[in-house]
Symmetry: C2
Subunit: 212 residues, 2 copies
Amino acid sequence: MSSEKPGNSRGEGPTATACAPGSKARVRDRIFETACDLFYRHGIHGVGVDAIVAEAGSNKMSFYRSFESKDALVIAYLREQEREYWAWWDAAVARFPGDPRRQVEALFEAQLEIAKSNNCRGCALGNAAVEISDDEDVLSNLVRAYKDQVRTRLHAMARAMGARDAESLGDALMLLLDGGYFTRLIFPRGSGPISAALPAARALVAAYLTAD
Amino acid sequence: MSSEKPGNSRGEGPTATACAPGSKARVRDRIFETACDLFYRHGIHGVGVDAIVAEAGSNKMSFYRSFESKDALVIAYLREQEREYWAWWDAAVARFPGDPRRQVEALFEAQLEIAKSNNCRGCALGNAAVEISDDEDVLSNLVRAYKDQVRTRLHAMARAMGARDAESLGDALMLLLDGGYFTRLIFPRGSGPISAALPAARALVAAYLTAD
DNA sequence: TACGTGAGTTACTAGTAAGTAACATGACGG
DNA sequence: CCGTCATGTTACTTACTAGTAACTCACGTA
């Protein structure tokens, strides 16, 4: 996911992920978008405040006028990634209302599509889970809630299909999905095992729908 | 993977992963084992040389007498993780010689077993792939080679089963495997979707073995 | 006893990161 | 024309990290 952000730049005040209520606009957005991009590409630990503001053509003071701390920025980043992810998910799913089987297929199709692009580095939230240590409560709770919701949604879809063991099918689909994100870090474009995700998902769904 | 190291401490000279040929023994091993443990638990970027030597009850000078640099240590760490991983893999597979279908099941059984333990933090090599940037050639080549071999082995097993589309089946199994490692970071013990990996693998194998 | 060696101690350099203070500039509205 | 507000600039503090220098200690062996 990730890649380019939607067009919330300029024109409608503070973004949904802001920190202060009636605050700045211009520079903050520029810094934030740059930060999202860099965090996604190089990881959270791998990008410093200096690098962000330099890339954004700004400076540290402007940064700290818009963000309380780097931690606050990271949280905003993760929230934004989550927002974009669900937007992407909903868009994929919305094409087949009432047809959970096609919806699942659409998800895997869309995932492969993104994985083929150059700037895909897997799942931003999942990657963050690797970087952060367990005692960073705010961050890990955020990621945990996200992953929980992925799982819940897949369970629901499996249930809507009338699968024999909806929990298990949903979990299996989640493994395929996350396996795709994880392996995408190593295998460029669509060259990794991710290209097998869609047929595997189809086969799994079929297997869990037939009584055995 | 990871958890406790095998007993290569003391008695047979330098370890397989050493850097200098006829070098030290005692302190080096202590530091190395500590480093492996800390790297695995907190990530490579998350652990400094000071923390390692402190935890090992040693000091920085002794560290730099045994290791050329932190980078060298990281490389040794990844090599060691890879060695342990294949030892684990071979052990799981060796229980069912000539029966690739049972071998695959054994892998997923063993994976779940480890995932249930407290100190499991998923796949060390895969996690490293998240942390390192693409331009760190030595490290990313190391991880890439490892992932390639996982894939190759799964392809071979799928082929040995006589699967219709062995490449696709092998890839799908890899997605399940890596999905399990990835999600394990968030879901403690066996609570995540990883518990669905074995039945899903079974179902996939069955689906790819029957002519459709 | 003397000496070599593996290991610990202290103290340092250099670089980088987060975060802050004080001041400068430039545009825009009244 | 003046003030204000958003932004840029320079320079700093603090803390941490990789890596090194110089010295000391303890132990085993010739």
